[in-house]
Amino acid sequence: MIFDLIIYILLAIGVFFNLLAGIGLLRFPDVYTRLHAGTKCTTFGSIFLVGAVILIGLKMWYTGATDGSVLAIHSIFVLIAILLTNPTGAHAIARAAHRSGVAPVRAIVDDLQNKTVKKTVKKKEAEK
């Protein structure tokens, strides 16, 4: 009984943060702040959703169905895949956005600006 309650709470937290990611994507003003919402919230929400499924699998295993162990172990693999790939993808998108010339809106400091210019000059020299 208390096990079921824990699963319900985990599912509710996961859904809340995933919805927050959607609202954040709509409300924030530029790419970088949207990445904050889209990456952090979905990763955190997915941890809770997949954690709830792992608990469901463990409970099935405990009550006698051998299918439960397979469910739990494969869900752990999904969790590892999400935790490894999500921040790396965000990093790649942020770098691509800055190199393709999208400046952060309302920024009070941008240390990266000068560096990007230098790099393109170097590339042009190398091509000659």
Binding site: V15, L19, G22, L26, A81
Partner: protein
């Protein structure tokens, strides 16, 4: 036991979140905005596949979710590389 309706409510809420990200994909003023929306949709689809697997007690959905996670990561990296404008 968790009732089937619980999974149904969770999945409906997740699809609401997907719809909001979809609006960003359609509206987004620049190309990186659209890619951010796509990346978010990918992650939410992965977690809803896992929920499907638990709802129908089928492990195959979760196997598909693992493969989908790795493939969507590679596709995101390639789109980012393309936006960067370097040579492959």
């Amino acid at each position: 036991m968790i009732e089937f309706n619980t999974y149904l409510i969770v999945l409906i809420a997740l699809s609401l979140s997907i719809i909001m990200a979809m609006i960003r994909v359609i509206k987004g003023p620049t190309a990186p905005d659209r890619v951010v929306g796509l990346d978010t949709i990918n992650t939410i689809v992965i977690s809803s596949m896992v929920i499907f697997g638990a709802a129908f007690q089928e492990v195959i959905y979760i196997d598909v979710a693992i493969v989908y996670a790795l493939l969507s990561f590679i596709s995101t990296l390639f789109i980012a590389k393309y936006l960067e404008g370097g040579d492959f």
